[in-house]
Amino acid sequence: MSYLTWVVLLGTSLLGAVAGVLGCFAVLRRRALAGDVVSHAALPGLCLAFLLLGRREFWSMLLGALATGIAGIGLATFVSRGTRTKEDAALGIVLSTFFGAGVVLSSIIQNRVGGGAKAGLETYIYGQAAGMVRADVIWIAVLSAGVLVLVLLLYKELKLLSFDPEFAQVQGWPTLWLDLALMGVLALVTVTGLPVVGVILMAAMLILPAAAARFWTERLGPMLLLAGLMGAVPGMVGTLLSAGVVTRWLGFDPLAFGPNPSNLPTGPLIVLCGTALFVVSALAAPRRGAISRALAALRLRLATARENLLRSLYELSEPAVRQRPAMRLDELLAARAWRTWQARWLVRWAIWRGWVEPAGSGIRLTPLGLEQARQLVRVHRLWERFLIERADIAPDHVDRDADTLEHLLGPEVVEELQRRMESPLAADAVPQSPHDIPRTAPPGPAQP
């Protein structure tokens, strides 16, 4: 890798990390869009700084961007407070107005400077990471270190401010100043990132890592750490892809369609890598991820279906249940609101698990299934009796209520229940059902 690529790599990954960490507070404080407003509103500032000086100079450009960026936030606050416009609408108005003004100004500059001499201001719109030089990276490093120290020192204050600003104010924290400081640092990081990823995409650098990190943890500290990482890694990967380093490693260009090298811009690649991390997190994270939630829902449905099947077989063959009489499928179907295909599938599954076995033209419980069914019926009836005794639910309504409860509660609750009954049962005994066993399904949606 060339020296230049190293410089860019360091810059983008540091910037990604610091934006990720700060983005957590922005997202948790519900200011996620503020970064977007700052970055769009910075464009006219960049143009004005260029117009005043007539050239690109680092500090004046930074200052100009910061000035109009913060002015944009201030104006949005003013519009939403002063005119009863909703906050998101006010942010949208200010964002597009400033961006429009910025585009007009940059066109004026383009025309004035003339076709040949490019002011290079359009690079701010989409970003141009390859244009980074040593001085840029040094500034990014200093800024990152500063932000890191600030977050470490004020971790407790920022946490409280983001969670419960009212309580913070009651405790005497200067919430307004803390908020302003947070927004100021956010604006500084945003403006610093503009030359790299551009006005339009900078907000993604703030929001994506925070949103992705939230899926993996329930604590703020780990979330900050993860968000930093999830900002740095896309920064690196995006840079390596864009600089053609990956092409050299692999021996081919993974992003090229056809024979020409892909030559893709860094900023959008960084953002897309961040998006990829977000999508993976949203799908695969334990507990909060979509896959794990779908699996949990499926497990509950399966457990419910198993319990219903075993209980139906038991109750329908009472009082001769010990002889394990065979039961035809249509008898089962009549008692439960199952569709035929659901029942068939369920029976096949139960046979595979060894709870029931084929018998004659139907099925019957295996000894294992009988024992499990006994337990289930006992729990169900304990619930029913409890609900009748304590909750004054009519005996003919109690079946359904017990049904919904028993699938969700563990065995400890049931034993507790049994101790609290007016007439406790001998351990293991199955009480009589307080109502007739329905031989026909109640009307209602099918529930496997």
Binding site: F167, E218, R219, L220
Partner: protein, 290 residues
């Protein structure tokens, strides 16, 4: 005796303001306890609060006695929460003055505990119940210092006091509404205050939490502390509190519950909903309070 009279020895009665100027039977406790401060926990003078130039609370005057459990009641939109927020400096006063133990609020923050409405925060926030309770100690810690072993022990004790020690490491969204409310109470306890302000702690909680709050309030009174609690249910005021503040934008009455929740006062506050009022007055008459 009017408020102010005791403190400054100058009796002051507002002309025609008999309903607004209200005094509780504040008795100076003998110096048997270590809280022998001569000033009452809360004094409000001529307080008016306005949102967008529209007054929400008019001319509130009241003094609360030491060691009292005070229910703040009134119809929806009566300004109950606003009263709390104004006292705590969360909304600006249009006029008037608030004193907590004889000093402006800004100087007495360390004596104040606050339980905001449960809906006021995002429960999906990545913190555990223990983290939230520890926030109660932040005010004492000051800038930069992190909670240490002593604060952790305190948080643990506060969680135990509300029966939540088993849930200390749960993320707060994974708690039931009542449990969340108890976490907020534990956080206020961790503030180690002398006067507590609670905004609707009984709203939408389960029976276990309701009992936990009632026990907590009584424990606070035993310790010589004062609690001012916004409460939505007149039926239970007499049961839970010894004093009441009845509001409907103006102060209708305040004092011992039995003298405040009279049929006449309730009629002033709630207007025509008579069946409800009769029930409430009846509940008070039966003397739900020992």
């Amino acid at each position: 005796m009017t408020r102010g009279a005791r403190r400054r020895g100058r009796p002051r009665q507002k002309a025609g303001g008999s309903a607004a100027a209200c005094t509780l039977d504040w008795k100076v406790k003998p110096c048997g306890n270590n809280l022998a401060m001569p000033s009452p926990p809360l004094e409000i003078h001529d307080m008016t609060v306005a949102y967008h130039r529209k007054p929400v609370l008019w001319d509130i005057d009241l003094v609360l006695p030491e060691r009292s459990l005070v229910g703040v009641v009134g119809p929806n939109g009566a300004g109950k929460s606003t009263l709390l927020k104004a006292v705590l400096g969360l909304v600006p006063l249009a006029s008037g003055r608030v004193e907590i133990y004889g000093q402006p609020y800004a100087r007495q923050r360390h004596l104040v505990g606050y339980v905001p409405q449960r809906e006021s925060v995002d429960w999906d926030f990545p913190v555990t119940a223990r983290d939230v309770v520890l926030m109660g100690t932040y005010g004492r810690l000051g800038w930069i210092r992190r909670p240490g072993a002593a604060e952790r022990r305190l948080a643990e004790a506060c969680l135990r006091q509300v029966g939540m020690e088993a849930f200390a490491d749960r993320q707060i969204r994974q708690l039931s509404g009542g449990q969340q409310q108890r976490v907020f109470l534990a956080r206020a306890l961790a503030q180690d205050a002398r006067i507590y302000f609670m905004d609707e702690p009984f709203a939408g909680v389960d029976a276990a939490t309701e009992q936990a709050i009632v026990r907590l309030l009584q424990a606070l009174r035993e310790e010589g502390k004062t609690a001012v609690v916004v409460h939505h249910d007149i039926q239970t005021v007499a049961e839970y509190f010894d004093h009441a503040i009845l509001l409907n934008m103006r102060l209708i009455a305040c004092g011992p519950v039995a003298t405040v929740l009279t049929r006449e006062n309730l009629h002033k506050a709630y207007g025509g909903k008579l069946t409800l009022l009769d029930e409430a007055a009846e509940a008070v008459r039966r003397g739900a309070r020992p």
